[in-house]
């Protein structure tokens, strides 16, 4: 006969204990600990102005990391993000300065910014075409576009630093309700990213796709489109992140954005996103990841720590984060 017994089993497994529930927020706790530690040592660190600084300084990478998190959730990776930051900033700069395209004078900053959005989308679309359309491994595809985008941007800038007109800096400084624009954009991007992931059908389907693409297809999802969407969003985030960062700097240097993809990936992973896909979130995860690293560097700056100590301290704190992370998972 068929399997006999019925269930005498509670519907779900045992609830996690209080420790584990606490440890689930390991990076957040660590961030708090770091803040408290620096705050205890330095009164300057505790000022609201400094908190604002940290937010603003995090904004560029954080926005990139929002897109990166989405890509990582699909089980992919976007190595081209830093190069797209560069390309976007370079194109925006050239447009604002004018004379780049013969006959085209300087165009206003807001318009240039608006024109960068399609550029970011287009970069994302190229990745999407290669990964989702062409089925090329994301690491390889985006490694290639990294070189392409960076090379293109270097050509555009002729490998020279590109100083931007002051209007650009205004963008980085304008404050709304006491908070600078970059901080708003960061918060908006994080909120939108998280809302997309947790509250829209698309977001939930991305998690499914990341967990098992074959199963996702069998479940009737449009996997190609979903995957493409993730890369397009990442391209958009990278170019927005590039604009925010450059609006604070005032110059597009030839190394602009280099390795920022790496910082973004690290922040996402630190925040609990899995490189194998299907797991992760922007809020609090990735945001906490970005803030943790930025807060450390900020605190070390303020304490005038030995420059050589920075990587060692940041690395050690990451390791502690890793240790705490161990607690959040059940055994096995």
């Amino acid at each position: 006969m068929t399997a006999e017994p019925t269930e005498a089993l509670p519907a779900t497994g045992p609830r996690p204990g209080p420790w584990r529930r606490l440890a689930r927020h390991a990076p957040l706790l660590l961030l708090l600990a770091v803040v408290l530690a620096f705050g205890a040592i330095s009164p300057v660190f505790r000022t609201p102005a400094n908190a604002r600084n940290i937010l603003v300084q995090s904004s560029g990478v954080a926005v990139v990391a929002v897109g990166m998190t989405i890509v990582l959730i699909t089980g992919g990776i976007d190595l081209s993000a830093g190069a797209v930051m560069f390309l976007s900033a370079a194109v925006a700069g050239k447009l604002v300065i004018g004379g780049w395209i013969p006959g085209l004078g300087p165009i206003p900053v807001p318009l240039a910014v608006a024109l960068i959005v399609p550029l970011g989308l287009a970069c994302g679309l190229v990745n999407a075409a290669l990964v989702a359309g062409g089925r090329i491994a994301p690491f390889v595809a985006t490694l290639a576009t990294l070189y392409l985008a960076r090379g293109l941007a270097l050509q555009i800038t002729q490998t020279r630093p590109l100083p931007l007109p002051p209007g650009f800096l205004e963008l980085g400084r304008a404050a709304v309700l006491g908070l600078p624009l970059p901080a708003w954009i960061l918060l908006a991007a994080a909120a939108a990213g998280q809302a997309m992931l947790s509250a829209t059908p698309l977001g939930r389907q991305l998690y499914a796709l990341g967990h098992d693409p074959d199963a996702a297809r069998r479940a009737g999802l449009r996997t190609t489109r979903l995957l493409a969407f993730a890369y397009v969003i990442s391209g958009l985030c990278a170019s927005l992140g590039g604009l925010i960062a450059v609006a604070q700097l005032g110059t597009v240097s030839p190394t602009f954005g280099a390795q920022r993809e790496f910082a973004a990936i690290a922040a996402a992973v630190l925040g609990g996103t899995s490189l194998f896909g299907g797991r992760g979130n922007v809020l609090p995860g990735t945001l906490v990841g970005v803030l943790l690293v930025q807060t450390l560097e900020n605190g070390l700056n303020i304490l005038n720590a030995d420059p050589y100590s920075y990587p060692v301290v940041v690395g050690a704190v990451l390791f502690v984060a890793v240790l705490l992370d161990r607690l959040r998972r059940p055994r096995d």
Binding site: R150, G315, F319
Partner: protein, 349 residues
């Protein structure tokens, strides 16, 4: 299992369909195993038609010698990727081993200058290898025991080790290495640069290890399904630790090769190689998802990358053009590989 097979059982077991033609089989196997080789060869042929000096024996041997340290590091990364991990600490390990070995084989002379102390060379080499393997082992144990993402574990080791290396040297290079060490870079056996057979032996050893030994088979198993491996008695922790130790050891070997040829212990050695180290493996068919990869693939992956650099270098393109060309060639390689896979998949009558 020793029961006599009934006739119809034999029939079902063997699989009823006729085997496909033997020729097609061979071609298929060749295609799949040696795809990166074919890619590298194809690229080489195409490029040598247009790039002056590419095909000269002089340049070819130069190319092979150039790629050796990167290749060694990429082989270690391959082992880790197969086991389902990733090792971001390779550059830091390279720097640490470079500095440690150089420091050991030089004594501080008057005025803080480095003075060669040749008698220390073997010890320095041994210590560098031990250091590399040790850091690798630490990574491996942390990954295995804590079961946390290797990305984070090796990222933090990388920062700590790399930062500590810079700190310990305060950015200073270590010079005046003993000639008995630096001459290794110029040494030849039978007209072949010494490092070539050395690295070839290492690659062969890795090849045998991965394909033929127990631990190699376990690496693939762990990379594919760690839980199933554990249930089947695979010592998952030890296997994982071993992969990272191998990676650390390979990084140390790479560091020694680099250090010998630059004649300097460099606290920034290898800083920029990470993408190439992972790239060589992945282009060679290793999967970032684990359980897949070969030594041969990585060899050709590394060769392809070096070939791209070398050929673009020889053309004298603009800097940015070189970058873009590199991107295009990587894409080309990937799409050819894909095309091949698709053709293979469609081979249904």
């Amino acid at each position: 299992m020793t029961r006599p097979a009934t006739p119809d059982r034999a029939a079902t077991t063997a699989g009823t369909p006729p085997a496909p033609r033997a020729g097609g089989e061979a071609a298929r196997a060749l295609l799949s195993e040696y795809a990166p080789l074919l890619l590298a060869a194809a690229y080489f042929l195409a490029a040598s038609a247009t790039v002056p000096g590419l095909g000269t024996p002089r340049n070819l041997s130069n190319l092979v010698v150039n790629v050796l340290p990167l290749l060694v590091a990429a082989l270690g990364q391959t082992a880790v990727l197969i086991a389902g991990g990733i090792d971001l600490s390779i550059p830091a390990v390279v720097a640490a081993c470079s500095v440690a070995s150089a420091r050991l084989m030089t004594a501080a002379g008057p005025g803080g200058l480095d003075v060669p102390s040749p008698q220390m060379v073997p010890a320095a080499v041994a210590i560098a290898l031990g250091l590399g393997a040790g850091i690798g082992l630490f990574n491996g144990l942390a990954v295995a025991a804590l079961r946390v993402p290797p990305f984070l574990v090796t990222l933090s080791t990388s920062m700590v080790v790399g930062g500590a290396t810079l700190w310990a040297t305060h950015s200073r290079n270590i010079a005046n290495l003993p000639a008995s060490f630096t001459d290794l870079a110029y040494g030849r056996v039978g007209g072949v640069p010494l490092f070539v057979p050395l690295v070839a032996a290492l690659a062969l050893a890795m090849h045998l290890m991965l394909g033929r030994t127990l631990i190699g088979r376990w690496l693939y198993a762990v990379g594919q399904n760690a839980r199933a491996s554990r249930v089947s008695g695979v010592p998952v922790g030890r296997v994982t630790a071993c992969a990272y130790a191998v990676s650390g050891l390979c990084a140390a070997v790479a560091a020694l090769l680099y250090t010998a040829r630059l004649e300097t212990g460099l606290p920034t050695m290898g800083r920029e190689i990470l993408l190439d180290v992972v790239g060589a493996a992945v282009i060679g068919g290793t999967s970032l998802a684990g359980g897949k990869g070969t030594v041969l693939g990585t060899v050709f992956g590394a060769l392809l990358l070096a070939l791209i650099d070398n050929s673009l270098n020889l053309i004298g393109l603009e800097y940015y053009a070189i970058m873009m060309a590199k991107g295009l060639v990587i894409l080309l390689a990937a799409s050819i590989d894909l095309l091949r896979a698709r053709l293979l998949g469609r081979a249904t009558p």
